[in-house]
Symmetry: C2
Subunit: 258 residues, 2 copies
């Protein structure tokens, strides 16, 4: 029986049909890896909360402050009626609902896949002052205004003031390279799993998480920027190769399959 | 054919036969979980480098400064002649050398198990100012002198000055509880793997890593301390239960089996 396209809520950019959000990219890759039909609905930042209300689901997270947090990706599956938020939960849902498609979260690794993302973020902290301001340039006005206001409140400073410059840039950018170096080492040092991906020869959620971050940097910095060219050259070009390997799972603007 | 005991190098404490180091505990648990015979050789901190020279193995790590780093655990297997450093590499070695014993690092999870430890350390950072000074009290004089000198150089302050006190303690200790709360959430929140352990019903390296940290805190703070009692009570007693579940893999002072 044909599967009706699963509705996939993502955040738009100025360029029509161009996805950029690292967390939604995980699920975009997952849909294409699994060969599941899906249809993107683009939702601007200030409209995400309203989407949750309309879909009648609880917040994807309760912050330490006690405030509810509403974020994408969210999916709605018209075949089952299920609505799910949070990329790790969505990946699990797709695995268990469509067991005949390639597995994104191999059995028993749910917690380990999630903590891979925590470890990634902990070593890639130095990239945040570069990417957070950069991404504003590709958002549409309604999302840009919202994003800048929220992030400036969170950092306590104007976003352009976050970006390292002058001598500070050389040091800060080396820290970014070191961060990537740690991830490279996790995957290659003696005793590592043989194969190009986090779990070896087979793709999993963690690879989609890394590639999702790379998409974020690429869209934010621009393909012709020196920053992006640096990333593509580091560690024997392994980050460029990962994007190449996953290129066939990026999907098209058409998206409809069954 | 009987297996000769594998030599296991660990760091002693004042109490004879009492292990405390979080990284060596991972391998102590692994030996007992696998039912492999082993014999502990206790090595004081200042003698670890000399041990590496005597065993003719390279440093377990090259630091960012370019300096070699010598640490325990190290094992020497008289049955094969192999000498291995680094807990994750040792676990892999034991799995591949003794494939008929229970697996510590399930296939494909080597990188994920290591990054679980990175994620753990990133959220448990607030515990370091408590445990680093506390552990000095259980070391023998020769290790204590070395440990204090190295850690004070690294922190740039006297170890007793690290410990939060007064109002600072209440805030800092809550941050420790929050850190444990994040680990609890990784393992239990919706979509998590059912079962008490990181990979569900079956033990793996990540559980030995958590339990190794708990052993460290228990020995450093002392079983009757308020700090330790707090840890044992948090999150429905799940940390106490983990230690209980692993109690049968702590080994005895005898250690000889075959």
């Amino acid at each position: 029986m044909a599967i009706q396209p699963i509705i996939f809520y993502d955040i738009p950019s100025k360029a029509p049909g161009v996805a950029w959000s690292p967390n939604t990219w995980r699920i975009r890759y997952a849909f294409n890896y699994k060969g599941l039909p899906y249809k993107t609905e683009w939702v601007e930042y200030p409209d995400i909360k309203e989407l949750y209300m309309r879909l009648e689901i609880g917040p994807c997270q309760i912050l330490k402050s006690g405030k509810p947090y509403y974020c994408l990706p969210v999916i709605h599956n018209p075949n089952t009626g299920a609505t799910i938020s949070d990329s790790a939960r969505i990946a699990d849902y797709l695995d268990s609902t469509y067991p005949d498609t390639p597995t994104v979260v191999p059995a028993g690794t749910h917690t380990l896949q999630k903590t891979f993302c925590v470890a990634y973020d902990s070593v890639m902290e130095p990239l945040r002052p570069y990417i957070i301001p950069a991404i504003t340039t590709i958002l549409r006005p309604t999302s840009e205004e919202y994003y800048v206001r929220m992030r400036e409140a969170s950092f306590g400073k104007k976003l352009p003031d976050l970006v390292p410059n002058g001598d500070g840039h050389a040091v800060a950018w080396m820290a970014v390279q070191d961060g990537f170096g740690k991830i490279d080492k996790w995957m290659t040092e003696s005793g590592g799993v043989p194969g190009p991906f986090v779990m070896g020869e087979v793709l999993s959620f963690a690879d989609f998480a890394i590639a999702g971050k790379l998409q974020w940097y690429k869209k934010g910095f621009g393909e012709n920027s020196d920053l992006w060219k640096d990333v593509m050259a580091w560690h024997g070009g392994r980050w460029a190769k990962l994007l190449d390997d996953l290129n066939r799972f990026e999907g098209s603007s058409e998206e409809m399959r069954d």
